[in-house]
Structure formats: structure tokens, C-alpha cells
């Protein structure tokens, strides 16, 4: 009987219903695996926690040691049923690198994370619902270059909270802004305030809402884009990127040159004096 009923029903089903159902099925599943390497500093860890709070569709894993075998992360993602990976790699207890990868097929991007400010800092006064969906705001610069277009697509899929995601709320009360300045990507998170700041009442319909920053803040400097997930052929290399190690080494060597140049100078002088001896004065012994 049941099957008969079902077939009958399906025949008379509305076209709209079918479309709606299809749309429902087309709801994208995005899940992010968030992993830190061993040796992250507290600030880096707090940044990760902030992102975890803001992105309800992410799954945090315990720290991994994947210095050699970075492929391990693909397996981890598969086990956790995630199709994106944020891997926070800390080097020398000071430099933070962020891998954003689409597991298991790629692409993946490696960033150097700079200028980190976490939500704990008291100067950012905004607040938003836990799990509400963000508006993703991109700078028009993102459309200028193919690699930026790719980054924009990746950010949309990772930082955007999918509609109907678990633990998410169906409202928009904050906006993530991604801007390209100085060849780097600057991330900001603002609360959308639709109340009048003075009265606390509703604003006029025509008035623009205001924004209050929530945090965190960070700047991503692209290092490379790979075709695969955590590997594969390189598609893009940032010509402007200078490794922090190189910077530090250069600073050190600059300091060292001060001494080296002084030593060289004295050696030069000695050699010069030796090469050009003073001519003997013929009148030197006249009065003796």
C-alpha cells in the first residue's frame, strides 16, 4: 500500500516542491578541520580558538607534529569527514604559517600570518552571536589576478558558514572583510549594529547600519599555491614574499658588518702604512 501511495504522490507532486528538494540537496557541505602544529605560542593558539568560535562548521583536532609527513593531515581530514583543512604551523615559536587546503584533491595555499590580534584584546568592543553567519566582503582587487580569484573562491568556501550548518544561527550580525593591501590579505571582523547608538532603539529604515570591530585581526601573506592538497605542483609563487628567517639573518649580518668593516679598515691602514714608508729625513741628525 505504502509504495502505491508513494508513487501516486510523486506523480502529483508539485514542480516547486521538486525544485525545493533539489535545492536542499544541493546544500553544500563544508567542514573545516582545524589543526595546530606543536609549539604554537599562546597568541597563535588564541587566534585559532577565535576562528573556531566564529566558524561553527569547523572541527578542532589536537596538535600534530607533521614536519615531515604533512600528508598525514589529508588522512586526518578524511577521518574527521572534513573537506577543508586549516593547518596552523608554528616555526621557531614565533612564525606562524597557515595552510588552507581543500582535502583531498586540492588546491592548497600556504600563508605567512602576520600582525595577529586576537579577540581577547580589550580594544575591540563588538560582539556577535555564536554561530551566526557572516557576510563575506571582498575587496575588488580580488578580481584582478587569477591567483587572487582562486583565493577568493577558497575563502568563500571556508570562511562562509554554510546555510543550515550544524550549530549555526540563521542571522547575519557580522561581516568578514578581506582586503588586498600591499600585496597581502588583511582580515577584519565587524559586528553589524542596526540599533541607534544613543537611544538603543531601532534605526530609521533608510539609515545605514554601523560597524563595530569584534576581532580577530590578521594579515595573510601568500607564499605559494599548490595544485594538490598539502603538495603537488606549484601554481603560484609570491615574488614579494621574504621569509622571516631571511629578514632576521639579514638584520644579524647587518649588525655584524659594523665590526667586520672596522677590522677591515684597520687592516687596510696597516697595509697602507707598510707599503708607503716615510722618506728618511736627511736633516734628522743635524743637531745631535
Amino acid at each position: 500500500m505504502a509504495t502505491l501511495y508513494k508513487t501516486a504522490k510523486s506523480e502529483y507532486q508539485d514542480v516547486d516542491d521538486v525544485l525545493e528538494e533539489r535545492e536542499k540537496r544541493s546544500d553544500v557541505k563544508q567542514r573545516i578541520l582545524m589543526v595546530a602544529s606543536r609549539g604554537v605560542t599562546y597568541r597563535q593558539r588564541h587566534l585559532m580558538n577565535d576562528l573556531e568560535v566564529l566558524l561553527p562548521h569547523c572541527k578542532k583536532e589536537s596538535k600534530v607534529e607533521a614536519k615531515q609527513d604533512i600528508d598525514l593531515l589529508n588522512e586526518l581530514a578524511e577521518i574527521q569527514n572534513c573537506n577543508n583543512v586549516f593547518y596552523f604551523e608554528s616555526r621557531k615559536h614565533q612564525d606562524l604559517y597557515l595552510w588552507v587546503a581543500r582535502a583531498p584533491s586540492g588546491p592548497s595555499v600556504k600563508f605567512h600570518v602576520q600582525n595577529i590580534h586576537t579577540m581577547d584584546e580589550l580594544k575591540m568592543t563588538g560582539n556577535c552571536l555564536r554561530g551566526s553567519r557572516p557576510v563575506l566582503s571582498f575587496d575588488a582587487n580580488f578580481d584582478s589576478e587569477p591567483h587572487l580569484q582562486l583565493l577568493k573562491e577558497i575563502f568563500t568556501q571556508t570562511f562562509g558558514v554554510p546555510k543550515g550548518a550544524r550549530k549555526s544561527k540563521p542571522f547575519f550580525d557580522h561581516v568578514f572583510t578581506f582586503s588586498v593591501v600591499d600585496g597581502r590579505i588583511w582580515f577584519r571582523n565587524f559586528q553589524i549594529v542596526e540599533k541607534d547608538a544613543q537611544t538603543g532603539g531601532d534605526m530609521a529604515k533608510t539609515a545605514k547600519p554601523t560597524l563595530v570591530e569584534i576581532g580577530p585581526r590578521f594579515v595573510l601573506n601568500t607564499i605559494r599555491i599548490f595544485e594538490g592538497s598539502f603538495g603537488g605542483p606549484t601554481l603560484y609563487e609570491n615574488p614579494k614574499y621574504i621569509s622571516p628567517n631571511v629578514v632576521r639573518a639579514a638584520v644579524r649580518s647587518q649588525k655584524a658588518t659594523k665590526y667586520a668593516s672596522r677590522v677591515a679598515d684597520t687592516q687596510d691602514r696597516e697595509a697602507r702604512v707598510k707599503a708607503n714608508p716615510l722618506p728618511v729625513d736627511p736633516l734628522k741628525d743635524v743637531f745631535e
Binding site: R102, Q114, A140, T156, D173, S179, T210, E227, L235, I242
Partner: protein, 288 residues
């Protein structure tokens, strides 16, 4: 936005320092020159964008907004300008997103009676509020202190003027007394004594000598002036404890001191010369 004006954090400072270092180093060609060839497979990147693109999805599922104009920042180090650009970008995105959400027939802002866990806890928000209040208080206090400082400066002037006025008054009345005394002594007694002051009784040495041998009320001879003063000073009958010690009042008591007398030729001459001293022994023997 106003927060951006406040002091940077350590991280920001460090990073800005490194940026400056890089600039300095590059100018001196100390950093290794970037290699000539950089990988940038534009075609492959474009293909990849098309491959992973979710452009077919409805807006409500992607929630991305690209700004109408690219961000141009003249100087990246200019915090205020840069953050303002980010703010404007975010605001534009929010306004456009509101329309899109409306179009999709979804709620944008959360209803007033919808309460849920927030990203920042109440305790954290309280701390932020406290910090803001403290800041405000600090500003108020400093302003108040500034005002007080000004007032004090003004008040000192007023006080000095008042003291001078009082001194002038005193001088004037003393002069008046002196003239009256003079008149009385010269025998011009025609006028009535306005002040009812026993002008004769105050400190005239000549009169005291004349009083020697006077009998007191009970028939006993009154002590001479010197005795009286000594009694006063060293005590004669009654409790002595503590009386012969200086007190703050007694030390600061300048009633017996007269500037006029002190400066007078007579007085200072006495002090300089002293009393006629007894000559030394040798001198005495010589004369005798």
C-alpha cells in the same frame, strides 16, 4: 573605529619594525635579491577557479559581496586611513547583503527576543566596558587636574594680594598710633583719645626706673622690671613642667621682634661693639 587610534600592540609594533627593517635592508641591497623567475600559471589557476567554483549556488548560500571599487591605500603604515578603508568596504558589503537577504526572503537581523550564546562572554564584555569607563575616567581626571592647576596659579596671586593689603592696613594703623603718641607727649591733650589705648604703658624703659621702690597693693615692694621678666621667663611659683620649653607657637612668636628696632643704628651698634669689654690680662698689667 576609534580604537585604532590607540596604542598598538606588541605584535603590531614588531611587525611594523620588521617591515621597516626590510625597507632599510632592501635599500642597502643586503637582502638576497629575489630570484628572477616566479611561477604563476595563470591559465591553470583560472581553470582551477572554474573547477572549484560554486557560482551556480544561490547568493544566500555563498554570502559573498565584492566591493565596487578596489581599495587603494597610499601608505600601509597609516593605520587610520587603512582601517577606514576596510570599514567602508565592510559597510558597503553589509548594505548590499541586506538587500540580497531580503530578496531571498530570509531574516537578516536577529529579533530582539532572540537570545543565544555570544562569541564574547558577558564577563569579557564587562571587562571591555570597564576598560572603556576607566579610559573615560582617566581623561576626565586629567582634565580636572589641569583645571585645578590653573586655579591654583590664580589663587596664589589672590592670596598674595590679600596679604599685602592686610600688611598695608596694619602699617597704616600703627602710623596713626605713632602720630597720636607724639601729639600726647608734646602736651597737646586737646583731643580725645580715640583708641582708648594706654599709650604710656607699653614698653618705655625710662618709666620703669622711676617705679623702683613703689609699694604694691599689699604693701610689699613690687619687683623691678628685670626681676619681673626673669620670673616670667624662669618661673616663680607654680608648675614649671613644660613651661620652659619652646613650642611651635613660641618659636614662631615674633611679637617681641621689631624690624625697625633691629635695623636702628643704636641697636645694631650695640651688638657689633658689644659692651665695653674687660681688657685682657696683659693689657691690664701694663696699665696698672
Amino acid at each position: 573605529m576609534s580604537d585604532d587610534e590607540h596604542s598598538y600592540d606588541e605584535a603590531m609594533m614588531e611587525d611594523e619594525e620588521t617591515a621597516l627593517e626590510i625597507a632599510a635592508l632592501q635599500s642597502e641591497n643586503l637582502l638576497p635579491q629575489p630570484k628572477k623567475e616566479f611561477i604563476n600559471h595563470k591559465a591553470a589557476l583560472r581553470a582551477l577557479v572554474d573547477e572549484i567554483s560554486q557560482k551556480s549556488l544561490k547568493w544566500i548560500q555563498r554570502c559573498d559581496v565584492t566591493s565596487s571599487e578596489p581599495i587603494v591605500v597610499d601608505k600601509t603604515e597609516n593605520d587610520l586611513d587603512r582601517e577606514l578603508k576596510f570599514y567602508q568596504q565592510g559597510l558597503e558589503a553589509v548594505v548590499r547583503a541586506q538587500l540580497e537577504v531580503q530578496k531571498a526572503g530570509m531574516p537578516f537581523s536577529r529579533p530582539d527576543d532572540y537570545f543565544a550564546e555570544m562569541v564574547k562572554t558577558d564577563a569579557h564584555m564587562a571587562r571591555i566596558r570597564q576598560k572603556l569607563l576607566d579610559q573615560q575616567k582617566g581623561i576626565q581626571n586629567s582634565e580636572e587636574a589641569k583645571k585645578q592647576r590653573e586655579l591654583r596659579k590664580y589663587g596664589k596671586k589672590i592670596e598674595q594680594e590679600k596679604l599685602k593689603e592686610r600688611e598695608d592696613q596694619k602699617k597704616a594703623s600703627l602710623d596713626k598710633i605713632a602720630t597720636i603718641k607724639k601729639r600726647l607727649r608734646s602736651g597737646d591733650l586737646g583731643e580725645v583719645d580715640d583708641f582708648e589705648i594706654d599709650v604710656d604703658s607699653d614698653g618705655d624703659g625710662g618709666k620703669a626706673k622711676g617705679a623702683r621702690g613703689k609699694k604694691g597693693r599689699d604693701g610689699k615692694p613690687t619687683a623691678n622690671k628685670k626681676r619681673q621678666l626673669k620670673d616670667e621667663k624662669f618661673g616663680f611659683g607654680g608648675k614649671k613642667r613644660g613651661l620652659r620649653k619652646n613650642t611651635a607657637d613660641s618659636t614662631s612668636d615674633m611679637s617681641g621682634f621689631s624690624q625697625k628696632r633691629n635695623k636702628s643704628a643704636n641697636f645694631s651698634a650695640v651688638h657689633k661693639r658689644g659692651k665695653t669689654k674687660r681688657p685682657g690680662k696683659a693689657k691690664r698689667q701694663r696699665t696698672n
